[in-house]
Amino acid sequence: MLSKINQEVQVDFNRIPRKIYWNNREYEVKKLGLHHKYRVGNDLFHVFSVAGENLFFRLVLDAQALTWNLEEIHDGL
């Protein structure tokens, strides 16, 4: 089931997100599903669709502010 989160999170990043720190837990990224970008006016956002062991994360990097927003999670069910 999909859940909207919309919270700023910390991310370990090396070419792709490697670890996500959210709700006092650490989630290791196992697979990058997709990376795409979009703009809102001049502002550029990178969207990383990544999966951990059994949870999917939609992470959005604000390329100006360099902040990560966890927009949604999905348990695949």
């Binding site: 599903g33 997709l34 990376h35 795409h36 970008k37 006016g41 001049n42 939609r58």
Partner: protein, 419 residues
């Protein structure tokens, strides 16, 4: 060459979320029971005969554990651009036909390319460079129509060629309604003139086809089935429009007005971006008693500013008395003219209005669609989603960052930009 993403929206969602792969997934306009299904994954199609256009509630009766997602237009536009860029490496003439379909032309090459090998390479590169879960059906043919028929012939992941050596074989395996453009109504008309199969259609003379199709269209079919290109037609932009189905019917002028204003804003920005003005505005309301309210007004002066258009659109809306709540609002701008060729009135200060609209457009270009918002639109963001039409590719460049879709780690540019 005709290329078609298989189960486009659903496959892209499975590409993005690996946990959804191998599961029945649909993308629906809304995840609610009455949401209309836009795309079904190959698993959903195989398990429950789920079809585009079905309601979520009907689909869930067939597959209780169906996963329903709402569309993410930006993701699909990005996939479209990624495939477009890949195809441009093979031929300069790539024609997007819809969000998930392209036609590539390979005429006039010095040496004829081996299209089967190119097709296999494209399929592999899509897996390697765009997404390992994505598949396409490729059709090869002497004209657009036959290439598309070849692509439809085998789904998913097909590669078929209809050429001068095998066309009768393909025609013998197809039903009339398998042909793109022949509906059940057409089939009935063709039956009246003695055409019951695609082979009958191919063998029929022009006079019979004209009788069956009711005019020149019959002659077009005669040529199409003989490999002649008659579908190479470019249509000029004739309108800008937007439409919205309300999950909660609008009972008052204020409710409908705020949504209409947003629709106008969306169509107006696209019109301005493409440097057009309009003289005609049409408003179409579907009411909850299954009747309609429709009105078109034509203005003497060309309308290019969103503010002018909003005023006119609301003027039409006020003519409806709201006896029945509104369930769907559709708005369009037509009678278009390029803004470069507008002759401004001597009597009204249209230049000032034009300059203002350009300034507003520039602010929105820099700060985004909602960078500058009219007061009566402040509360409407929640109502309006960014939808993408299957056939509408004219506006596909708006908003998306090109060359930006991949399942590969592609972040050299991000590293430079960000750190």
């Amino acid at each position: 060459m005709h290329i078609d993403f298989n189960s486009c929206f659903a496959s892209i969602e499975q590409q993005a979320n690996p946990l959804l792969r191998g599961k029945p997934v649909v993308v629906a306009a809304y995840a609610s029971a009455k949401g209309c299904i836009l795309a079904a994954s190959r698993e959903a199609k195989a398990m429950g005969k789920i079809k585009t256009g079905m309601q979520v509630v009907e689909a869930k009766k067939l597959i209780p554990n169906l996963i329903v997602l709402e569309p993410d237009s930006m993701k699909y536009r990005s996939a479209h651009h990624a495939l477009h860029n890949l195809l441009l490496e093979y031929t300069p003439k790539v024609e997007p036909k819809s969000i998930d379909e392209f036609v590539c032309h390979f005429q006039n090459f010095k040496s004829p390319p081996n299209l089967k090998n190119i097709s296999l390479e494209i399929k592999q590169r899509i897996k390697d460079e765009i997404g390992d879960w994505l598949t396409v059906s490729i059709g090869l043919g002497p004209n657009r129509f036959l290439a598309k028929q070849a692509a439809i012939f085998k789904k998913p992941d097909g590669l078929e060629e209809i050429n001068h050596t095998n066309y009768l074989d393909y025609y013998s395996k197809m039903k009339l309604t398998d042909l793109n453009g022949i509906s059940f109504a057409n089939e009935n008309r063709l039956n009246w003139v003695g055409i019951y199969s695609v082979l009958d259609l191919y063998k029929a003379d022009v006079a019979t086809l004209k009788r069956g199709f009711g005019g020149i269209v019959g002659y077009y079919w005669y040529l199409r089935l003989r490999g002649q290109e008659i579908d190479d037609v470019q249509h000029d932009r004739s309108m800008f429009g937007s439409m919205y189905s309300l999950s909660h019917p609008a009972k008052t002028l204020a409710e409908a007005s705020s949504i209409l204003t947003k629709l106008v804003e969306k169509a107006g920005v696209r019109m301005q971006k493409d440097s057009y003005s309009a003289r005609s505005l049409s408003l179409w309301l579907r009411l909850n008693n299954k009747t309609y309210f429709h009105e078109t007004v034509t203005s003497k002066e060309p309308l290019f500013s969103t503010l002018q258009i909003i005023k006119q659109a609301n003027f039409i809306l006020k003519k409806y008395n709201f006896k029945y709540p509104v369930t769907k609002i559709s708005f369009s701008l037509s009678n278009l003219q390029q803004t470069k060729s507008i002759q401004f009135s001597l009597l009204e200060n249209t230049q000032k209005s034009y300059d203002l609209s350009q300034a507003v457009y520039k602010i929105k270009d820099k700060w985004g669609q909602y960078g500058l918002t009219l007061a009566n639109m402040v509360n409407t963001k929640q109502y309006y989603k960014d939808f993408i039409g299957f056939g509408n590719i004219k506006d596909i460049n708006h908003l998306v960052e090109k060359q930006s879709f991949s399942s590969q780690p592609v972040l050299e540019e991000l590293s430079e930009e960000a750190w």
